[in-house]
């Protein structure tokens, strides 16, 4: 059980893997905002193209990225079906295509809106998936700690959060091993974890959880002793061996994501009345 891959990083060496985790997080947030603002198939196509470029650069097989959609398939289908059925568009007369039955109807506007919602959900899931597939959990914890650091101003213990995340990540394999050991010990004494109904199985886990909890508390007491004796005092005056520094490529990528967001906003609002924007509005509901 030592080979548990926690998190879901796909370990290859690529520019995307090497990029600063903080930059990836910021880009992810900008990306999410962009996807939420976009409102035509054309605009989604532009975003998808940008995402595909990143996926190809990351050398993660595109199918691996797509497989993350399995988790939201029910949500996506249900959302699509209801959006289509409940959207009446401009009414039976004005719609080019309208099939009504009872309180429901299938119409052109409804289908378009449903399609757009579907695109939005899919893109919202794929973007963050690329980040988790290319970033180690440790880097992610560091990045989250960095991004939360403005909260220090309002006395949020950001350093403590970071430390908790890092120790939790560090302890996952250890506790996994321990669980396995306790389960084996219980099996050796006749415990049964894979028979009976759900309730019986859950009941069988209680004798595993109790020793696990006790040992986790003992470990945490030991760990706090060890940390204290290594002069840990809550992160006051702590320095870092690895100074996080944005590289030119990180900044370029962030600027690019900002540019994409700006582009989509121009397409949606067309502040300057440019005519080409109508091309980008193609496929809007």
């Amino acid at each position: 059980m030592k080979d548990v891959v926690f998190g879901q990083i796909y370990p290859v060496n690529s520019p995307v893997h090497r990029a600063d985790a903080r930059a990836k997080f910021i880009i992810m947030i900008v990306y999410i905002v962009t996807v939420i603002f976009a409102r035509s198939f054309m605009q989604f196509a532009v975003i998808a193209a940008a995402l595909l470029t990143v996926v190809l650069m990351s050398r993660v097989p595109p199918l691996k990225v797509l497989s993350s959609l399995k988790a939201i398939i029910v949500l996506a289908v249900v959302t699509f079906v209801f959006t289509v059925l409940l959207n009446k568009g401009a009414g039976a007369e004005a719609e080019a295509f309208y099939v009504g039955f009872g309180p429901f109807c299938i119409c052109r506007t409804g289908l378009m809106t449903g399609g757009l919602v579907l695109c939005r959900i899919v893109l919202l899931v794929l973007g963050p998936t690329v980040v988790t597939l290319t970033t180690t959990p440790v880097d992610m914890a560091d990045a989250i700690e960095f991004l939360l650091s403005p909260l220090k101003l309002i006395k949020v213990p950001v350093h403590a959060f970071g430390m908790i995340m890092s120790i939790a990540l560090r302890m996952i394999p250890t506790l996994f091993e321990e669980t396995q050991r306790v389960m084996n010990a219980q099996k050796a004494r006749g415990a049964c974890f894979d028979h009976g109904n759900v309730f019986k199985r859950i009941a069988a886990l209680v004798p595993v959880l109790i020793p696990l909890f006790i040992s986790a508390f003992k470990r945490s007491a030991d760990l706090s002793d060890a940390m204290e004796s290594r002069c840990y005092n809550g992160g006051k005056g702590k320095t870092r061996m690895k100074v996080l520094r944005f590289r030119v490529s990180d900044i370029a990528a962030m600027l690019f994501s900002a540019a994409l967001l700006f582009f989509i906003l121009v397409c949606v609002y067309n502040w300057w009345g440019w005519s080409w924007v109508s091309v980008m509005a193609m496929g809007a509901a």
């Binding site: 080979d3 440790v138 890092s166 290594r230 061996m241």
Partner: protein, 287 residues
Amino acid sequence: MENTAKNNIIISVRNATYKYNRDTEDEVTALRGVSFDIAEGDFVALVGANGSGKSTLARLLNALYVPDDGSVVVDGIDTAQAGHDETVKVRRTVGVVFQNPDNQMVASVIEDDVAFGPENLGLPPAEIRERVDWALGCVGMYEHRKGTPFRLSGGQKQRIAIAGILAMKPRVMVLDESTAMLDPRGKREVMDAVERIREEAGITVVTITHFPDEAARADRVIALSDGRVAIDENSRDALSDVERLRSLGLDAPLPARIAYGLKRRGIYTGDVPVTAERLAEVLCAIK
């Protein structure tokens, strides 16, 4: 207070007592008046049966606990009176490696874990990097620095824990049963690394153990029994007295027990050897 300049005494324990759950009905007295000095450069083994107070003593030396009575003075600082900055100084002087390597690692990357101590000291990044590389080199784990500790053997993990302490450049390293959970190979790995560090970095080592063979590597043995110092002698004298050790609930090293058995049967009459090499010489000399 002991004069620290004299004999370069770095740790001075005077009449230290310590009770767990003080003033409750579960009160347990772990130490009942322990006194000894440790000079810089010493290699001391602290032995004792289970419950004799050895691990409590390790925590006293590092100011994790302060004595209820008596005093522990580390490099001139009385731990009971130390403020925050002085406590940090005590912990910079005395580093403790604990028993379970899994329970003293804070990071999932080896070099990050070793960097934890120096980072807490607020050192500049370049110096931390230098210390981490040096410490990992000392314990022979430099090639593994980018890896995770999970795939390593117990001995390797414990060597990383040692590197974590070493990176803080302590003057005294206390090993609190640091080999107890390791297999024989791991034990040897760790003790070899400790001896190498002692020679190269000139660090004072206090090893707490219940393995007599490990104690035989030290120059001096302090045996605790029921919260008191029962023996404080050079290791040869302390470990060759098989009867006395047995009365304290301790085993003598195997070579000493063999020689002692031969002596009782009248086959051998000289000194009782403590190490395997000496035993071999003794056995060869028997006609």
